[in-house]
Amino acid sequence: MALKIVKGSIDRMFDKNLQDLVRGIRNHKEDEAKYISTCIDEIKQELKQDNIAVKANAVCKLTYLQMLGYDISWAAFNIVEVMSSSKFTYKRIGYLAASQCFHEGTDVIMLTTNQIRKDLSSPNQYDTGVALTGLSCFVTPDLARDLANDIMTLMSHTKPYIRKKAVLIMYKVFLKYPESLRPAFPRLKEKLEDPDPGVQSAAVNVICELARRNPKNYLSLAPLFFKLMTSSTNNWVLIKIIKLFGALTPLEPRLGKKLIEPLTNLIHSTSAMSLLYECVNTVIAVLISLSSGMPNHSASIQLCVQKLRILIEDSDQNLKYLGLLAMSKILKTHPKSVQSHKDLILQCLDDKDESIRLRALDLLYGMVSKKNLMEIVKKLMLHVDKAEGTTYRDELLTKIIDICSQSNYQYITNFEWYISILVELTRLEGTRHGHLIASQMLDVAIRVKAIRGFAVAQMAMLLDSGHLLTGNMQRNGICEVLYAAAWICGEFSEHLDDPMQTLEAMLRPKVASLPGHIQAVYVQNAAKLFATVLQKHEGATDSQAAQDTSQLLIERLPLFVQSANLEVQERASCILQLVKYIQKLQQKDVEVAEEVSALFAGELNPVAPKAQKKVPVPEGLDLDAWINEPPSESESEDEKPKAVFAKEEPKQSRARHIEVDEKELARRREARKQEQANNPFYIKSSPSSQKVYQDAPGVEHIPVVQIDLSVPLKVPGMPMSEQYLKLEEERRQKERADKKKKDKKKKKREKRGKGKRDDSGPESEEDITPAHQVDIVTEEMPENALPSDDDDKDPNDPHKALDIDLDKPLADSEKLPVRTHRREVLKSPEEDGDQDGITQEAKRRSSKEKKEKDRKSKEEEKKKKKKKHKHVVEEEPPEPLSEEPVQSEESAEVAAPPTSTSAEASDLDFWLSSAPVPPPIKEALAPKTSVAAAPDSEPDVPKDAEPDEEKSLKNKKKKQKKEKDEKKKKKRHHHHHHHGDGGGGDSVQNGTVEEEEEEEPLPPMSNYCLLAENSYIKMVYDIQGNLQDGSQVVVSVIFENKSNSFLKSMEFNVLDSLNSKLQRPEGASPHDGLVVPFQLPPGVSNEARFVFSVQSIVMPQKLKGTLTFIVKSEDSSTHEKLDFKLHFTCTSYLITTPCYSDAYAKLLESGDLKSSSLKLEGLNMPFHHLLARICFHHHFSVVERIDSCASMYSRSIQGHHVCLLVKTANQTVSIDAKCDEPSLLANVLDEIKQTFSQC
């Protein structure tokens, strides 16, 4: 026995490992498949052994074979075995194999649940990590449901390595198990402010991914992301956030306004191309969402275009590509700014890189104008000539057509030219887009009446020349054009010069080689031509010609009667008989022309493609109702035994059905007739108006036929589009000359006053009049068309399930299922698992707590609090905030429900409306005086550059006030209720200001304080710690130009102290000032950030500085300066950091902290206001709050902990504070005191 084991292990040494397998495959190049199949046999043997190492080795080899395309799903169970090994080495092999080949259809996957759960809670972080990584690849709805809670716990793991993986995998869990999104979301949100940058980045990643699909649900996170954007220095995070904002701005234009400034600053400051590019992209999105060309944003557009130009001109092809890509986005809304770079884009058309050429083509689409269309298309036609490879050429072709036909042929001034272009394009070999050209021809001929004469002539030539017929099957695509040509010639045959010749061309034997649907059109239109010919000859007593025509048809049509195509055959035989009959009549000298042409009378109107869909459903018509009774279950069951015994009964019942149906049907038929009569879009048989055409002026210069064989794209006997360029130029010049003459006359009459009239230089768009008096018939729509229906969304999109409102508070039933000891037979997870879950969870918690209690039973009081607190978190979310979801800004505006969710909404509104500019803040600080008091009397007077914004702000304020009142009422009510309860649910954990809002709205606050001011400029500033760097603070200064002059060349300089230094660019001396990266037009304000490095943060300090700037008025410019003192308070070194109550308790118990205290008397403000103020002005966060007592926490940039215990009683507030740095604490307390002494 023992010998056997030893032998086994020696054998094992000579088993093939992965390297051997790979080597073997490389050595058997000629019979690889055979070699591998023997290897697979070996692997199967190895998998049968008990030794886990052997199994793992086998699985490892299988993973490799999977990559080569071999199915390894048969080994799924062995993979699970290896996954459950206790050794990390093997476990990892197992999970890797599973991640490569498991999927939702793998049945053994349900065996893994417990193993994965075990690994997730393993003490070894790499076991957990490997399980998470594996799970991310093969998570199924069942796994997601069963493990969601475990993963959520891991999101607060002590190790950032686990936290970031857990956060990331939550996205997959949400996708598979959407119910988990709401319960898990608060924690996910929390992770946005995780101290570890990796975790933070993961959370941003997940939320961005979620928000991309359902942006409106994440609008309320905008302030948080905004904060992250301005504080983060991780480019990955920044890129994600900026991309996210790009998705959010279309929903909230005010957000865009707020974003422009920091984004432009980033564009100026960043050196990372990727970041710059994403900023530009988002600025573009913002500009699109603002749509209306606001004057002060033209600078941003210019900036973007200018930066993109730099990208496009770069030698790096990647940047060039991206530059073009972004440019095409600007194009949609601001074509003018892009058009000025036409040269550059045309240049890119010649690039050797196809991706870049395609991008440039996209851009061309928007660059055309009436003026340059011909020129651009000419250039493209040259490219069509040169292009090798059909894909690119096809792309060119579609682009040419797109460009010309865009917005209803807006830019085409000469349709003859366009028809010629289309005809030239038919020379393309092997294109797939023949039908595109054909549909353009049809569209133009039908909708532009003036062009029909010309079009018909061209089409007749196409039919005649036959070059499209000669090609082999490869040219199949292009022969579609003949479809259009034949139809146009037939339908508008009255324009034909020689219908007989065309008729003959259409009946050539070669036509029979065309595809069936084209032949059918040929046959039908031959009949139309026949009618025309008859009519022509009718008057002219020349009966012979007419009879010849009949004879021709009778001779040629049998060819089509034999066609294999049903449609062709049917039409041909029908027409053949008709012609035979006509011939008989002709021989009797009967006048038939009138009657024959009556067959084809009536004009075709272009109908919009969506018209049918938009016909509204008439009242009383239920489209979903059964026309016949649905087959009942019993009936279908009867179906089988029918042969055995046929019963009478079913028959009877069916007969009854029919009776009912017939009545119903008759009724419906009547209704339908009525409907048709009323509907103008049913082609009615009433004799239509005669086809009336205006004579097209300008048709006289149909170009002379010109044969030049050196030009490859020329169709012999066809006009050349190029001639039109010249003609057009001449025409325009003539027009211009005419106009000038007129102008001169006018001027003379007007006594040529008014100084200089700007010489019209290059003609503007409007000056170009189309060559033809063209009326483009618009497509018809039903009169009462329904508004646009835009449900293009893919119903199978997994993200649809994630369209969940996240602002709504959690209901009791929304809990993640938690494992129970005995899992009941499959029940629906929400209802049942939850009930279990809660109790189970509660039990677990309480038992844990008991243990803790035993261990340290000193602070009973605190424990109780904690317990209560936990309770709250587990069982019920912070007081129900609202019943109604915040959909978007609109809904809040429309209905402003008296619920307090609108508080949250107005939070966002407030954040959005109060730009960091002083005036609105001032306004906000005194809402009652300046805004609420302002009556509606003068809302229409545009005071500001942005009157509507102000107005909306006012409206909002009013609404807020209203809400306040209503809320107060509600609150009082609520309080009664609450006292009855015994006051348990009032505690708030980790509350920030927002959550306090529920009680009574806070007065708006701002941290910006005045730095200095003179008659030109005003500066306000705020100081924030830098989370990433413990020795830096960021000073944001808002400069506001108060004068009527332009302020430029601003330089910001500070006298450094030993402790604090302004961060200057490398190479600058410590006395140099920093140039403020913008200029200020009159009345404008903008924000700049300056980074200071500090060494010691325990003392507040002041730095003296100067701002120098140049005031530029119309006639002069002066140098000015303004001195200021920057006050670095100790508060500004603190950073709002959330803290859990247990961590907080531990911190306090540790005994490292020195304490100090403070009493504030005669303070008359609600407690939550007090807390909110401390939170806001001094960067604290509430850890826990019970009645009139709260613990708060903050951390300095250098990691000092600051803990406060705030109590209030009879207008006296006492603050007990602890901190590991006594002098810092003393200073902070002083500052808090100061804050409250001011109010």
Partner: protein, 193 residues
Amino acid sequence: MIKAILIFNNHGKPRLSKFYEHYNEDIEQQIIRETFHLVSKRDENVCNFLEGGLLIGGSDNKLIYRHYATLYFVFCVDSAESELGILDLIQVFVETLDKCFENVCELDLIFHVDKVHHILAEMVMGGMVLETNMNEIITQVDAQVKMERSEAGIAGAPARAVSAVKNMNLPEMPKNINIGDISIKVNLLLQRL
């Protein structure tokens, strides 16, 4: 989201394939072939983005690739990813491989595809970027290698000896097919990571 990560050589032989959406093996091979076909016919010094990989769904997707000596590194991503960011990520990936294998060459990838998977798992998880800091990635990878070693302990020694003997029979084992110039211009993103 990253939809797939593929590494193949100049002849289209797959060296690593990681799909973040499930396809069966045949379709995976088809995707690899198609991607190779698309990528290999492009010149050097054209842009590294390609639209229209037909198999990995939809028009939203892009192929972003880099070519190093004998290997193509191809990421198929959707529009949520920043193009330049992914290019940098590929660079980080290759540099990490270079550090972990000490002068990485194609052979390393051929014989140690499992290791490459483990390294990749520290960078990208379930199609989302997990970590971009090279030092952090290497720390985690090394820690796991150490764990593996300690688990193998004495038991692993004979196996290692055997594999050394096996390698001795391989005189033609080429050592220096370096992956080549990995110091391709990085878009400055790395500098600030």
